[in-house]
Structure formats: structure tokens, C-alpha cells
Symmetry: D2
């Protein structure tokens, strides 16, 4: 028997993910606060709901992909909520990058309505989402994770299981994002050090990216850092700051310092101060260049 | 006509590199301050010289692989020196990790004796050296680089050219080492953050190492960081500190801050203070664990 | 005509402040959530109210000294609230260390009830409060500040005016606390550097405290840092962390990095991780000593 | 019997110190590499020597005030040297800010010639030197320290003894300078945080400087930081970097991290990168302002 599934949150990541569910032959209802974003999916066969609660079917599955903890909290708190509508046997799959504490709290609240909660954040940029090449990490009740296995296979290239503790996948996503941000700072400082000493940073990056660091993060970000088109926001700097803050706050909540997180956070804040919050987050390269006397700051 | 070649400095890197030159059919004279280290190479057919100068042949090539700037400076300053012995048409290929300033100064001094100087530092641990899988970056006079191309092909899997400026390859090596050290700190903080939040760090590392960070540095160091055998020094922590200091000092000499370098440097210094200077440099993981309350410090 | 005044929040700072108002001859009503803390003041002539609202008199003045933004928000949100009770002509003087944003928001809400809001945070430890030697910074409506001038003179040795912008005094308090925390880190690192190099840190501190740094913060904290009785919490480390977080968060809210704030924050977090959250905040000295190999960490 | 005394190194500190020795009635011979700087002292009665060795009298005392370790090393290594000239019973009083290691090494070398070595670095800017208001810290042989007590009383307001270990006073000077640099960073970040939040930083500084931080360092540097005439170099930024490097290097030599030292060092390096190495070291305020979006960087 096919599942009744819905997708809520049709931004740059949610829209292609929903499209891939459709493409895989699933019947899908979608909902987005700004209704216009649902149009492309409607043309591909999705049903469009007027409210989040309308999108859900009792006992069915709802996928959500929202911007942050607050947005997801607000969605779940709507009256009537899609959670109540799902009711007994229902399942909420949360793809958003949120704190483990929020997942745990929501899971507990969902339980009151008989609804399972699975955290399933994803790694990959919008192009990867469109190509169904996302990497997914999932945590929550084993049966629920089993239930969505074929569905996740339609949106990602591989799902990594992190067990029953519902916050675990969020921790993985947060730690992974922190590793990306750290790598970005490391590359940007190294490239600037090379430039200051007369070495072409693109040549240096080519060597690293084809040897010791021959992996997507280094290859993709090396190109972006050296191309210098920092105003083309593939990933907005303020979103990067949000992610690093999640890492720093998760560290504090578990009583530990995260000094490299603090360093990157201050770097991003300097970039925001200089008016680059809406630029791509590789624009931290400019701040490093300015601190090295390579370039004048474009302050407000 | 075959080249007269010599290899000076038969430590954990130099010895397998020299062995690969022999294995490729080259006639080779070797020299090491501690003579005993030359024995394995002698049994493989190398001639063993009593002094560095004796190892060199007029107009020939000398490869050196020493521990730091000071050691190379001292070797070149010996009387008589292998540089004078090389004389007109001679070539010194320096594999050591040293500052670009030292390379430039030595190149200038060599020139007085008609000797070319090529900086050719390598990336890779001893196993990679033994397997002739090193990655080499080279800079210096184009003709000299051309002359050693087939020789370098015997010790490395690929050589990257960085042009005529003799210090350029040293800059590349220093910047590359800095990127490795930065990645190490990033991984160690991320793994600890995962552990503090109930996620098995080896599982987290497996996901990262097979997706976004599927490259040697992350795969190798993830395993070492999570295995926890920090007293088995594959790469001594004090050598890691030396490398990070080279980056920090190169930054200062070119008038720029290197905040991530400073952070890693302080991390390594705390590890030295705690008595781990002779351990593997992945032992910084312990310092991070201690700062997170996961483990008591093993202070002196 | 004498003012009808009340004091809410009788902790280690609020109690001696209220006592000084009584000692200066003012009639005073007091309230504390934990009623027992009001007893000493009752014996000195204070009226004790059963609720915060009961403590307030229409058109009168209420002083509050609570632990943080959340506590003050909760107090103001009680139904009925002391703010409504104060009503037209009433005045709320907030001594708590809170964010400027909270002050601004509360001032706006108070206005609906005809109540003025003055931010009047104080500098000084409990002994200074007992001796009426606090330094007070005040901001808010000029007339309201004028109205409380003689009252503040009973609890502090001097009041500094920071104008009409009600959040200004909070900014001053936050920046001042940040300077104290920074000085603490500077002293602790310097003392440890002296010790590691064979110089008695108390002798070094004596010289500094009687010359370049002959001022309360350096003299008081030098003694505490060198005395080493870190479990006697004069000022709890977790409160220090709260204060530094206020600085870091205020910096972020105004789009700027605060790297020294980040460094001290991570230092305090390491101390919390090691189980010292309830100790005096000078216990950061131990973390620095551990990082220097001078002492084993007393981890949980 | 009056001592035969000489003063070598007549820069902005040495010249007024020598003048105060003259003013106190001592017969004095002076020497400076750039001879012109000796003229004002000659007009006040000093004998001017043609070489450092000429300035010294057998069995007499030589005071030196040079820019750094290298300069002092070079002076002592001249042939003939003033140390040999001093010979048995001679005493060298070193006022320079140098590493403890240099003092220890020089003391040992001096001993071969029968010459005592006392480290006696000073705190205070040129105005304090002119007013004989320096604070002096001294270490070395007790008898030698006793011998110069009345002489030091002519140039400083107080001498603090740090015992027989000749490097101790250098450690004190280095740690003290580090505390000053740390305070400077703390003030500059705090003032900027105040400004970004609408509080006049001079008013904030006035409150701090008349209360918690009522001491010379905070009062003097608050004024300089808020006055903003950063191109008037009272103390050159590059000299500040040299001093912070001494602290960071002394920490490394004794195997400890100095994270606040690293932070200030990177701040100073960014300022050098931006072309402010010859400005006053309070110019770090500009770097903080730029990172906060308050001002455009004046990069090269």
C-alpha cells in the first residue's frame, strides 16, 4: 500500500527534494508558506495544500525542510497542526538543520499524538539535491527509519543511520557543518599566505585538491575562494553564521569550548560588520585579505 | 650519460627515497651523520661516503633531506662543503621542509660555486615514501628542474612545478602542512563535540570520510584520532609544532596574521607542556578531551 | 514628601543595597521569592510583602536586582504585576545585569502603564554593596534619574549618568564586565608565564599592583589568583560565563566580532567542563596552569 | 670613592636616564652609535667616548639601554669590547628589554672577564624617564644590586628586587609588557563594543578610569585610544610587536601556550599589514573598528 506523503518547506533545498519524490513515482502533497513556490511542483503532479495541516493525512508521512529551529517550532505549534492531523501511526521526517535539543523536545511532544519523529538532515548544496545526490544522516525510532528507507533513497545517494537517539543526526549535521566551516577558514588562510609569498593560490589549490585533499569540500571551495565572485551567494554568509552558532551553542550546552568555532564565528561576524552578510560565505576570504594588507575593506 | 648522484640525510623519509633511486637503477652514493643508518642502503648497492663532501661528484647532483633550516645550513657550511665539491654544473636538490628565505639565501650562495639549487619538498608519510607515492613540489631554475624530472619520478607519484622562484615550493609545502594541521584541529574538535553529545565519533568520521571529506588527510587522520594510540609517534608532535611555527613565522615575515595557525600552535604547545612532545601529533585530541571534561590531563 | 519605595530581589547584592536604603532612613518594603531572605531586613525595620505586586505602591518606586534577563522578564510578566500596581507616576529602577535590548523592551511596555524605567546596574562585589561603595551607571528619562539621585547616593559612592537611551547603562555594565574578564585572563596568563620562568607570581603581581596597575581590579584579583582558594566562590564562574556571554551576544547583535570575549568564553567553558562552574571565576587560573603542565586537571 | 660610570645607548629612554644620572651629580661618560645623540648630554657635562670600550673604565660600571637582544649581543661582541675593558670588579647593568635567555648567556660570558651582570629593565614611557619616575625591576648578584642602588634611585621612583637569578627581571619586564598589551586589546574591544551600541566610549572610559581601573595604564591608554591620533607614535607599533613576540617566545621556550599573547600578536600583525607599523601601537583600535564595520581599512 503506498504511503500518503507530504512535503512542507519548498525552498532551494526542499523544492528539488520534493521534485525527486514525485519523479520516483510517489503521490505527493506539498505546502509552502509562500504559495507561489509550490507552482513548479504542481505542474509536475503534486497536490498543493492550503495549510500545513491540510497537507497531512492521518497515519501518513510529512517531510519538513525549514530554515531554523524557530521556523519548525512555529510550524508545529500552528492550530490545528499537521502533527495532530497525522495522529496515531503518523511520521514526521525533519530535514532541517536544527539543534538536537529541539528534535528531542519535538519528538516528545509528537509522541503525545502518536506521531513518530525522525531527524534526517542532509548534506549537499541545491545542485546535489536536484541530482538526488544528497547524503542523509538519520536518527529516531528504528521502525520509522525503516519505513522511510525507500523514500530517502529517492532524494539522496546514501543514508547513514545514527540510531535511536533522535538528536544524534542533528549532532552529526552540526559537527559536519562545523568541519566544513573550519576547512573553509583553513583554506582561505593558506591561500592568502601563499599569495603573500608570491605563489599563485589557484596552482597551490590545484595541487592540494588533486592529492591530499582530493575531496568535494576542498575541490569545490578552493574554486570558489579563488574565483572571487563573492557576491554570488550560493550559500549566504548569514546562514553560515547560523550554522557555526549552532555548533558553538551545542558545545556550550554540553559544557565544552570550541575554539576553532569561535574563531570562524568571529571571522563571519567581521564579514557581516563589513556588509557582506548576504554574500556567499566564501567572502570570508576578503576579510583575511584585508587583514593581510592585500585589499582595502569595503566597509559600509 | 648517467648522472652522478648522492643522497644526504637518511632518516625515516630520506632512507626510503634513496632506496627507490637505487631500485630504479641509479648509481647512488649516500651519506648520513650517523653512519649506521647507511647500512641498509649499502646492502642494496649504494656506495657510502665518509663525509658529505666525499659523497658529491663535480658536476653531479646531491639530494638532501634534513630535519630543519639549521641542519641544512650547517651541512652547507661544512669545510670543505659538498657544494664546493659539486662546483660548476652541479645541482643541489633540497627535499627538506625549510623556510623560503633559507632556500633563497642558499641558492644565492650556491651560485657563487656554479651550483644550481632546486627546492623540492615532498608530501607523504614514510609509507608513501617507501611506495614511491610521494607528491613533490619543485621550484628553481627550469633547466635544473628538467634535469631531475626522471629522478623525481623514481621517488614520487607526481611532481608539481611552481616555477623559477626558488622559495615557491617551500611556501607550498609550508602552506600545505598548515592546511593539514588545521584539518587536524577541525576534526579533533568536531569528533569531541560529537562524543560530548552522544554520537560515536568513529561513525561520524566514517560518514564524513566517505562523502564530503573522502580524501587521504581526513581518512588517515580520522582513524588515528579515533584509534587513540597517541604514544605511537608516526609523526612526532614536536615536528608538527616546528611545521606550524614555519607557517606562523612565514606569515609574520610577510606581514600577515595567521589566526588559525596561532590557535593550532597554542594547542600543540599545551600538549608539549603536558608531556606529549614525543607522542604522535594526533595527541592534540587529548588536550581537547581534557578541555571538554572528558578525560583527566596526564600532566608531568 | 517621602517616596514609597520597594526593593525586590534580596540576593548577595540586593540585600545589602536594601539595608543601606533602610540605614539612610527610608521606609522600605521588600520582597524576595524565597521569603526567608527577607528576615534580616525585617529585623532592621523593612516591611515584607507577600508578592511583588504587594510590595509596590501606586506612583512609587520599585528597585529590582535579579540574576538575569529571564528572571526580570518573568517578574514583570506576573499577573498582577508590580508594574501595573505602580501605574501612572511609578518608576522601576533596574539594577540587574541584563541586555540593553531587554531594558528597551521593558521600558516600552512599562510606558503603557505610565511607569518610567531606569537602568541602573552597579559595579562592585558584595562587600562594596555592604559598604555603600558601589559605582552605579544610570540611563533613562532625565526626570526619573533626577528623582532617584538621593536614593542611589545611599547605596553607591558615585553615580555616572549615561543619558536618555535606556539601554546605555546596560551597555556600560556589559562592557565594564568584559574589561574585568579580559584583565583576569591577562593576569592569569602573565602570572603563569612568570611562574613557568622561575619568578614568584605574587611578587610580580605586587610590583604591577603598586605601579602601572595600581587599581582595584588588579589588586583584588591578583590576590585571589595567587591565593589559590578557588573553591570559595566570591563570584561564581557560571555567573562570569553569563556576563561574558552577554558581551559576546551584544557584540553579535550589533554585528561585530569580539575575539577576546570569545577567548575568555572558551576559557570559562573549559573550566565548567572540568567541573568548576560553582567555583570562583578566578579558577580559570587552574585551566591555564593545566595547559602549561603546571598541574593536573581535576576533571569530573 | 665615586664610581666610574658610563651609559651606552642614548635613545628616547637612555638619553633622559643618562641626564638624570648627571643631574644627580655623577660623573658620566656616554656613548651612542650615532654620535650626534650624545651632544645634549655633552652640554650637560658628560664625557663623550668614541667607542663603547672607550666609555668603560676598569672596575667601573656600564649601563646599557639598547633596542633588542641582537643589538646588545652585537655590542658585547665588539672587539675590543667594553666588557673586557671593565674587567675584574666591573659591572654591566642592562636596562634593555631582552629575553631572560640572553641575560643568562651574557652573564656567564661576562663572568669569564670578572664582570658582574645585572638585568634592570624599566617600566615607563620617555616622559617618566625624564621625570626620574621609572619603575625598575632588578635581578642578579646581590652585591652588585646593592652597589647600584643609589644610582638607580637617580633614574627611577622605585626599584623592585627579583633576586639572584639574572633572567628574573627580564621575565618580569616581559610579563608586565604582556599585561599592558592585553589591557590595550581589552580596552580597544570594549570601547568599540560601547560605540557600536550607542555609548560614547570616552564617557565609558572616564567611568572605568576613575573607578575599577583607576591606574596609569588604563588612564593613559584610554585617552590615547579615544583621541585617535594614531600616527603620533609615542610607542611604535612594531616595537609593541617585538615585545609581544618576546612574551610568546618566552612562553614557547618554557613550553606553554599564551593564547591572549597570540591574539594580540595577530592583531598587531594585521595592523602592520595595513601599513601602520610605524604608527603608535594604540592604532590597533583602527583594526578593531574596521572588523566592526565602523571604518574603512586604510590598506596599502
Amino acid at each position: 500500500m503506498p504511503e500518503n506523503i507530504a512535503f512542507i518547506g519548498l525552498g532551494s533545498m526542499g523544492e528539488p527534494m520534493a521534485a525527486n519524490l514525485l519523479a520516483a513515482g510517489h503521490k505527493l502533497t506539498v505546502y509552502n508558506r509562500t504559495a507561489a513556490k509550490a507552482a513548479p511542483l504542481k505542474s509536475k503532479g503534486a497536490a498543493v495544500a492550503a495549510t500545513a495541516a491540510d497537507a497531512a493525512t492521518p497515519g501518513g508521512i510529512v517531510f519538513t525542510m525549514l530554515s531554523d529551529d524557530r521556523a519548525l517550532d512555529a510550524l508545529c505549534a500552528e492550530k490545528p497542526s499537521f502533527v495532530e492531523k497525522l495522529g496515531k501511526g503518523g511520521l514526521h521526517v525533519s530535514h532541517s538543520t536544527i539543534s538536537p535539543a529541539t528534535s528531542k523536545r519535538l519528538a516528545q511532544e509528537h509522541r503525545k499524538h502518536g506521531v513518530d519523529f525522525v531527524a534526517a538532515p542532509v548534506f549537499g548544496r541545491p545542485q546535489a539535491a536536484a541530482a538526488a545526490k544528497l547524503w542523509i544522516c538519520a536518527s529516531g525510532p528504528a521502525a520509522a527509519r525503516e519505513r522511510i528507507r525507500p523514500l530517502l533513497a529517492s532524494v539522496g545517494q546514501r543514508t547513514f543511520d545514527f540510531g535511536e537517539d533522535v538528536g544524534a543526526a542533528n549532532v552529526v549535521k552540526i559537527c559536519g557543518n562545523f568541519m566544513i566551516a573550519s576547512a573553509l577558514e583553513g583554506m582561505a588562510e593558506a591561500f592568502t599566505l601563499a599569495e603573500k609569498n608570491g605563489v599563485d593560490s589557484a596552482s597551490f589549490a590545484d595541487m592540494m585538491g588533486s592529492t591530499l585533499f582530493a575531496c568535494p569540500i576542498y575541490q569545490i571551495y578552493s574554486k570558489l575562494l579563488n574565483a572571487g565572485k563573492f557576491q554570488d551567494a550560493g550559500f549566504r554568509l548569514l546562514l553560515g553564521l547560523k550554522d557555526v552558532n549552532l555548533a558553538v551553542d551545542t558545545a556550550e550546552a554540553s559544557a565544552m569550548p570550541l575554539p576553532l568555532g569561535s574563531l570562524v564565528r568571529d571571522r563571519l561576524l567581521a564579514s557581516v560588520a563589513k556588509g557582506r552578510g548576504e554574500w556567499d560565505w566564501t567572502a570570508i576570504m576578503l576579510d583575511i585579505a584585508e587583514d593581510s594588507g592585500l585589499r582595502k575593506a569595503a566597509a559600509r
